[in-house]
Subunit: 207 residues, 2 copies
Amino acid sequence: METDDSGPLRPRERIIRTARELFRRHGVRGVGVDAIAEQAGTNKMTLYRHFGSKDDLIVACMRDVALEGDQIWIDLESAHPGDPLAQLHVWLREAAECVVGDSRGCDMANAAVELAETDHPARHVIEECKTAHRNALAKLCREAGIAKAELLADSLWLLLEGAQVSSQSIGAAGPSAHLIAIGEAMIAAYAQQAPKAKTKARAAVSA
Amino acid sequence: METDDSGPLRPRERIIRTARELFRRHGVRGVGVDAIAEQAGTNKMTLYRHFGSKDDLIVACMRDVALEGDQIWIDLESAHPGDPLAQLHVWLREAAECVVGDSRGCDMANAAVELAETDHPARHVIEECKTAHRNALAKLCREAGIAKAELLADSLWLLLEGAQVSSQSIGAAGPSAHLIAIGEAMIAAYAQQAPKAKTKARAAVSA
DNA sequence: ACTGGACGTTACCGGTCTGTAACATTGCCC
DNA sequence: GGGCAATGTTACAGACCGGTAACGTCCAGT
């Protein structure tokens, strides 16, 4: 009932992993530090020795989520090197994976909703990470030769964010279930107007 | 410092209004019943005599939000009677009004995020209301003669939900700021393919 | 073998939260 | 005016939370 995965991981790592899971399931305000420590197979004192406060732990978890999220861009490039349009389609499919089953949506967006105070330290991390991801998506759209790349990126971005939050209010079987079809239609609509380059547009990587 | 608007309204109405405002500002878990009662110019006992529990109060607030949201469909019809396409454009502009300034997004979506337990009574109200609104939007798209009406409705729906949640994580100046432009482009893209009828399509109201 | 740092255990503090009990007060309606 | 329902006031219970203090334990490096 207590140990979660007390294998080779140090307490700090176990705490972050456990905290992320519990935060995800119950929300950052819905779980106490005592429950986190116990579930991580340690105790509250050790938790407070690694993280000065619960807010610090939340920030650390957000940074962990951000680090994990950055990996997708590396995976995309390695999956379809030099083919940004193909990467864009894979991105969409990866995004759709975030809203299957009894999804809890995006950890960061959820945390931003729960931490209503705009000056909460975690909010800065969330804003930075979200902005970085949106910019990376826009970069992908530009490199894919999309004319209105910024607008397509914002469109896809809002679609994903909406799908994640909508899966919690309406349910994953609602509009969120059509995320791929909607996204594909949108990419097609933006790709057909004044494309600077077609697929495999290696030459357009400059900007 | 205490009375909020103790005019002609009965305590029950004052409590709901105050609770909605405080829930919106601080989240449903971020404000206590005592603060709500005091801000509403009454006390905790009266609150508990009208609402058996805090959860009941949350449900009542969600129903109040739902009732308020239903009004938009009446307003749309009266603004452009018999012109569903025009209503659709006005809907988009009304939607964009929800993500201006320091928006806190959608009260219902936020509550769904905070109330992580899927069996919370408020979740049912939220799901019903959200589904009803999405269906009303789809009905508008069908009546506007859009071929893939359901898909356009889901697209616009995800855009709005995404804009509302994104305004809290990235900020209202991010992708959410382009909601109108994105939505217009999407409506245009769906309207140009196999339109069953053009504007003022009174004949297409059957289905 | 010693030592120092990381970790575990227990107990506690002060605060806040939801929810209730008992009682006083107001105001409306007959 | 008398009575009754709605409301206000105070106090309290029980639980939980974030955070800290004091002390014990273990293990790696020298």
